[in-house]
């Protein structure tokens, strides 16, 4: 064993572990909230905006950074839209909950 671990291998380790975490967390989501789950995961997947910002922020203005700026705009729609619409839906699930009542579940 010589040298350091290839970044791709480290990425792969992170990937596999994250899939495991995802698998276990998602199975615990109550079926009633599957639609908010979709809009929330949608918002989370728009974290791709990070890549878009890096592309757009390149010090040279060229085709690549233009693509980046467009990608930032597209992903921003999702960031705002995804979280807000999830919020709106979850508010609806709250309203009907009478105050003080605890539900086991």
């Amino acid at each position: 064993m010589t040298g350091s671990v290839d970044p791709t291998i480290i990425n792969l380790i992170i990937f596999v572990l994250a899939v495991f975490v995802g698998y276990h967390v998602i199975w615990n989501v109550t079926p009633a909230l599957h639609t908010p789950l979709m809009s929330l995961t949608n918002a989370i997947s728009s974290v791709i905006i990070v890549g878009a910002i890096l592309a757009a922020g390149a010090s040279v203005l060229d085709m690549g950074s233009t693509m980046g700026v467009i990608a930032v705009a597209l992903a921003s729609v999702n960031v705002a839209g995804g979280f807000l619409v999830t919020q709106r839906m979850l508010e609806m699930f709250k309203k009907k909950q009478p105050k003080g009542e605890k539900r086991e579940g």
Binding site: G22, I26, M38, V47, V50, L54, L61, L84
Partner: protein
């Protein structure tokens, strides 16, 4: 900011995303979960902005403001019945963003801290991120069209499956050609623009071809699948940019969508592959019409009101027809009226009712139906036997007792046992067969009464009759 500090902030954001999803395990913790998601996103964005602070920040901020305003506007305005369309549209944006980022990465890998020319390993990952992103984009556009009912204007958006001879063979061939250009992209000594562009173009085409043969009622699977793809696309881009947060967030979303697809397929008792290959229901569509003339008992809203007001317990089964007619508020009013008369009212939700996972739950929540009256299939199926009236609103295949009969196309599909209720009221617009193209014996039973008409109109009439 040092690279280490950036990585640590990204770790914090990733943990926030995990907590966000964890929050959804219960309606009470769900809102907190969403706040975690927002916090994670804010951390991710601010950290990244700090990295590029020396670049052209102004364009980025303008783009964020424009996109954010559009997103916020849509999120406020969208009707709950339009949720499936909105989600499909948002998937397409993630897919497109992934492709654009990939283009930028091919153009200037150094902007992402990747060596120029890009090493083969990063190219492989970029290839995956690009084609998954492209398929997500065009597939979601088609799904959006189907869900928004744009089939009248453009045939590819038809909610009926669009099939042609040799379709699967063509898709397979295209996929192989795409992979071939992917290999050419890895091996290209220069940036590899040509193979990259051809590969992306084929992927866009494939996205269209994969989704057109899938029919309307299989949409819950499609939309979950595209949800999953959008996550894998983000993860793929994360791999090529060596960004652990993108990998983590992408994998969470990817596995979420995959699990939802699995749940939806199971609820239809269909193999994932057969849903994806599509075309279901296209052939059998006319078979039902040829059957011998059977008589149905149809009644008016007044009859329905009479039956329900004399019942002790009523279970309401909402389906896609309720969403189309936007009848959720009327239904809630009906339930309220019945409750006032001392009738126990509950709702039974089939996992694939509607056009996306959890569609009916959201509609009922919008109408402020208390969620302890809303039951999932496995929790309420045993209750139908002791129920006086089951009211089926715009649902068909999910209550079709043919699922118990060997040899029927839907044999083995888990269904809501409305057939065991003492009386069954079915509201439909007409006697047309359901998505599966199957006749439904439930409609011809002696204990069944059909109430024809638009779900909203019928329910409102019943409410009036109850007064």
């Amino acid at each position: 900011m040092s690279a280490n500090l950036v990585a640590l902030w990204y770790l914090v954001a990733s943990v926030c995303f995990i907590l966000a999803l964890k929050g959804l395990s219960h309606p009470e913790t769900a809102r907190r979960g969403n706040y975690f998601g927002m916090a994670g996103m804010a951390i991710a964005v601010i950290t990244t902005l700090a990295i590029v602070a020396k670049g052209h920040l102004e364009y980025i901020l303008i783009a964020m403001a424009i996109g954010g305003a559009i997103g916020a506007f849509v999120a406020r305005r969208v009707q709950m019945t339009q949720m499936p369309e909105l989600v499909a549209a948002m998937h397409s944006l993630v897919g497109m963003a992934a492709v654009l980022i990939a283009v930028a990465a091919v153009n200037n890998p150094a902007a992402f801290g990747v060596p120029d020319p890009m090493p083969t390993g990063n190219r492989l990952e970029l290839f995956i991120g690009t084609f998954v992103g492209a398929i997500t984009f065009s597939g979601s556009v088609i799904a959006f069209g189907k869900l928004a009912g744009l089939g009248k204007h453009f045939r590819l958006f038809s909610s009926a499956p669009v099939v042609f001879k040799g379709q699967h063979l063509l898709n397979l061939a295209l996929a192989l050609v795409m992979i071939g250009f992917g290999v050419a992209f890895f091996l290209a000594p220069d940036k590899g623009w040509v193979p990259f562009a051809v590969m992306a173009a084929i992927a866009f085409l494939l996205g269209v071809l994969i989704i057109i043969p899938i029919g309307g009622a299989d949409m819950p699977v499609v939309i979950s699948m595209l949800n999953s793809y959008s996550g894998w696309a983000a993860a793929g881009i994360g791999f090529s940019l060596n960004n652990s947060m993108l990998i983590i967030a992408g994998s969470l979303v990817g596995s979420s969508g995959a699990i939802l697809s699995y749940i939806m397929c199971k609820a239809m008792n269909r193999a994932f592959l057969s849903v994806i290959l599509g075309g279901f229901g296209a052939a059998e569509g006319t078979a039902a019409a040829g059957a011998e003339q059977k008589t149905v008992r149809s009644g008016s809203a007044d009859d329905a009101a009479f039956l329900m007001s004399n019942a002790e317990s009523v279970i309401i089964v909402p389906g896609y027809g309720l969403a189309v007619a936007r009848a959720q508020h009327a239904v809630k009013e009906l339930a309220q009226k019945l409750t006032e008369k001392g009738v126990t009212v509950r709702y039974a939700i089939h996992p694939v009712a509607g056009r996306m996972p959890g569609h009916m739950n959201v509609l009922l929540a919008e109408a402020e139906v208390p969620y302890d009256q809303v039951f999932e299939m496995e929790d309420i199926n045993s209750e139908f036997g002791s129920t006086d009236v089951a009211l089926v609103l715009g649902a068909n295949d999910v209550v079709n007792p043919l699922a118990y009969e060997k040899g029927s196309p839907i044999y083995g599909m888990p269904i809501l046992d409305v057939v065991k209720a003492r009386t069954v009221l079915v509201n439909k617009r007409s006697m047309a067969s359901g998505y599966a193209g199957l006749d439904n014996p439930l409609f011809y039973m002696d204990k069944t009464m059909m109430v024809f008409g638009d779900a909203k109109k019928v329910v409102e009439d019943i409410v009036k009759a109850l007064e």
